[in-house]
């Protein structure tokens, strides 16, 4: 399964369900009532941020020319192919936090327990099983969608045109 995560900001209610599902996906038990007792506690890689009355989820955009990959001194961050996600090798990470400072979206964080950074892994294991990323699946309003990039622009064009015609 290949694609990108698209956010429909108008649909986001700020419920943080995506955060919860992300943490659960990265838990050992994958079960909510057990995961809440795990140590270290499972962490999410997506956050819902709010400005005024607007709320939206933010996670790694897996940039084509990723600044975090460029600055990483230990090759812990890598992008194996142009259409591959930006991946983290936690073993290699030395916790220098350079990537945290250069990320334009502020979506890389330090993991206090592991002494390394933590970021979205695009739910690669799920995608290989043809399952949607956990945040997309967990979003109750479909504010988070998983689409092929080729679909996005034509859809936008159609939406734009429909708007003009109806007006």
């Amino acid at each position: 399964m290949k694609g990108v995560i698209v956010v429909d900001v108008e649909k986001c209610l700020g419920c943080k369900s995506c955060q919860l599902q992300c943490a659960l996906e990265h838990s050992r038990s994958k079960s909510l009532h057990e995961a809440i007792y795990e140590y270290p506690a499972p962490q999410w890689r997506i956050t819902v941020e709010a400005v005024d009355n607007l709320a939206a989820p933010l996670q790694c955009r897996h940039c084509e020319d990723a600044p975090c990959v460029q600055v990483c001194p230990s090759q812990a961050l890598s992008k194996p192919a142009a259409d591959a996600p930006v991946l983290l090798d936690g073993e290699r990470c030395i916790g220098c936090s350079l990537c945290v400072t250069v990320c334009p979206f502020g979506v890389i964080a330090m993991d206090g327990v592991a002494g390394a950074v933590i970021k979205c892994d695009f739910c690669l294991a799920r995608l290989e099983e043809d399952r949607l990323p956990a945040c997309v699946e967990g979003c109750p309003t479909n504010a988070l969608q998983f689409k092929r990039l080729e679909e996005v622009a034509p859809e936008k064009r159609k939406k734009y045109l429909t708007g003009i015609v109806l007006d």
Binding site: E10, K11, C12, L13, G14, C15, K16, V48, E49, A50, A55, P140, T141, N142
Partner: protein
């Protein structure tokens, strides 16, 4: 968003940041963004098949696992909030009734009947024969009669309502079958798979709320007056500056008057004062927060340190030697803040304990002994203050409190013609536009005190007499609206004339949140006096809770609407997820009770809608225009 408009609070918030102490505002930010489903009331947590959440953007109508739609889910959540609020007020009422029974039976501990006139008046209302009975014998019968009303009808004080309102209640089946019973019934109806019809659900909630307003709350007020004395106008001060650097400071916080009355008495005890001097203090200073403060303020003039959002800030002054709390609106976060200072935090109710906090349980028969123990603890803690952490803001404000439904007309009418006639005449002649009740809590989602102050200022400038209770009254007290002088500074000309003639402030403090029942009573008196229609819904009056926080506020607003009053309530009580429920609460219900909700978030626009409502009612009554004209100007002024 600005955190507060209170200068003293602002200073303490800055101090908290300097000490890296987290307060309610920090926690509020951490909680953002709030869950939209919860906020809209469309998250159902009632049965274990859920939680079910209705997608408000869904292309077709969604239903929860059981088949409940947004209307049912929202209505059920809403009336469960009413039940929570009604339970809190009514259980408070039960505690007062129990304390009265204890006093009547000579149970000791220093509790005794104080206002025998009111006792006899209430006994008369309850149909209790008092001839040949001693005060304590009457008090026992009154207490038992009130306790009986928790289990079954009739709720006696509902007879105070105008006939027209009683007819509406009969028609809609809104007479409670008992104060507790309606709360139980709400829990039953909202259990999985019982009531589905949102109108039927909401009316059950209104019935439980009426049991609160005319039952639990009203008897809490009346029996507190009997036990501790009826208030009369009294001068005092408000804001954090009432905390004294050189005295032992005891802050009483919560809602019930019983223990705090005893603590106040103990603070005047010669032996304890001597003990305070020995510990280097110049005296013992008792002040309060939330409604416990107000109970002491109304009856004895003890100062109010602040309202709901000021509770942590009081401790941050570094000069609170002891804070003793009873029930309701006591933030769990207090324990964390108290842990950063020498402040001794004490819980006293078996219903409200905190892990790691000293608990001294209040028992009626030992009331005096326990109060002395608490005051002694405070004095003992005085030398433990850290001098470098004492930072008391200077801000205080003078105020007049102590108005009641009974004494309001003595003030308005004078000693020789103590009736509501002058008030009604002032409204009829157009000197006064009407009366507004601005009440309720603080809420960290909105700027602390701003809603209360902005709304009240707007109303009095438009010749509306404002009556207040609870945290709202404390907000306006801190701003100086409860001084008689404020009439000349900001009231409309008509209201100014009334205030000048009678010698009252343009904003009247009627007490704690259970004392909203005093407002219901005053509204009945206005109807009875004549000339303003024959039901509460005919009166040019309105109510508002511009910074609502608690379930109690939801219950208050619901009994107010259930009694025929137009009520502005903000933030909305999690009902917006159902268009039908919102429509019923803001329009449809008017046909049933004569009152309705208005969910306007802006306090000035809210005030203008209250004014527009009063003008509409004035017109319906055929009253003349306003004496000092300012009819339509209000709405225009805001739309520009």
């Amino acid at each position: 968003m600005k955190k507060t408009v209170d200068r003293a609070a602002e200073k303490m918030i800055e101090a908290a940041a300097g000490y890296s102490i987290k307060t309610v505002w920090d926690r509020h930010e951490t909680m953002e963004p709030r869950c939209g489903f919860g906020d809209l009331g469309i998250c159902c947590n009632i049965c274990l098949q859920g939680p079910c959440r209705i997608d408000p953007f869904g292309p077709s109508e969604q239903k929860g696992v059981c088949g409940a739609n947004a209307d049912t889910i929202v209505a059920r959540n809403f009336i469960r909030a009413i039940a929570g609020g009604a339970a809190a007020h009514s259980d408070h009422g039960r505690d007062i009734a129990t304390a009265l029974l204890h006093a009547a039976r000579g149970g000791g501990g220093g509790l005794r009947v104080t206002d025998t006139d009111k006792l006899k008046a209430i006994a008369g209302e309850l149909g209790i024969e008092t001839n040949g009975l001693s005060t304590n014998e009457i008090a026992e019968k009154v207490a038992l009669s009130c306790l009986e009303q928790f289990a079954r009808a009739p709720i006696s004080f509902m007879n105070r309502a105008p006939e027209a309102l009683k007819k509406k209640w009969t028609k809609a089946g809104l007479w409670p079958k008992g104060i507790d019973r309606e709360i139980v019934e709400v829990m039953h109806r909202t259990h999985a798979g019982v009531d589905v019809d949102y109108r039927n659900i909401i009316l059950a909630g209104i019935r439980a709320a009426l049991g609160d307003g005319w039952g639990g709350s009203m008897l809490a007020t009346d029996l507190s007056d009997i036990l501790f004395g009826s208030p009369s106008p009294i001068r005092s001060r408000a804001n954090l500056g009432v905390i004294k650097e050189d005295a032992v400071n005891i802050v009483v916080h919560g809602h019930e008057p019983t223990l705090s009355e005893m603590v106040a008495r103990a603070s005047r005890d010669g032996e304890l004062l001597e003990y305070a001097h020995q510990n280097g203090a110049k005296g013992i200073n008792v002040c309060g927060l939330c409604c416990t403060a107000i109970e002491l303020l109304m009856r004895q003039g003890y100062p109010a340190a602040g309202n709901f959002l000021s509770q942590e800030l009081a401790i941050i002054t570094g000069a609170v030697d002891l804070m003793c709390v009873d029930v309701q609106c006591i933030m769990p976060g207090l324990a964390d803040v108290a842990g950063c200072f020498h402040t001794e935090l004490i819980t006293t109710s078996p219903k409200a304990k905190m892990p790691g906090v000293t608990h001294i349980e209040f028992e009626e028969e030992k009331a005096q002994h326990i109060a002395h123990q608490i005051v002694r603890m405070a004095i003992k803690n005085f030398p433990n203050r850290r001098k470098d952490r004492i930072n008391i803001p200077e801000d205080t404000m003078d105020l007049v409190a102590g108005f009641t439904a009974e004494n309001i007309f003595t003030n308005l009418g004078g000693t020789f013609r103590s009736t509501y006639r002058p008030l009604n005449d002032a409204i009829i002649s157009g000197r006064l536009r009407g009366v507004a009740a601005v009440i309720g809590c603080n809420n960290a989602k909105v700027t602390h005190d701003e809603g209360h102050i902005a709304m009240t200022k707007r109303l009095i400038s438009r010749d509306v007499l404002v009556v207040q209770t609870g945290c709202s009254a404390t907000a306006c007290a801190k701003e100086g609206f409860l001084r008689p002088e404020s009439a000349f500074e900001m009231a409309g000309k008509g209201l100014q004339e009334i205030c000048e003639t009678v010698g009252i402030p343009p904003v009247l403090h009627l007490g704690s949140c259970v004392d909203n029942s005093r407002i219901l009573r005053a509204l009945c008196e206005m109807v009875n006096e004549g000339g303003l229609g024959d039901d509460i819904s005919d009166l040019p009056v309105a109510g508002a809770a511009p910074e609502a926080m608690s379930e109690k506020a939801v219950s208050i607003a619901s009994y107010t609407v259930g009694s025929g009053v137009f009520t502005v309530f903000s933030p909305p009580p999690r009902v917006e997820g159902s268009r039908n429920v919102t429509e019923f609460l803001t329009a449809g219900i008017e046909e049933v009770t004569g009152g309705k909700f208005c969910f306007e978030r802006d306090p000035i626009r809210g005030a203008d809608m209250m004014i527009a409502h009063m003008d509409e009612k004035r017109k319906a009554l055929g009253l003349s225009g306003m004496m000092y004209g300012k009819e339509a100007e209000t709405v225009e002024a805001t739309s520009s």
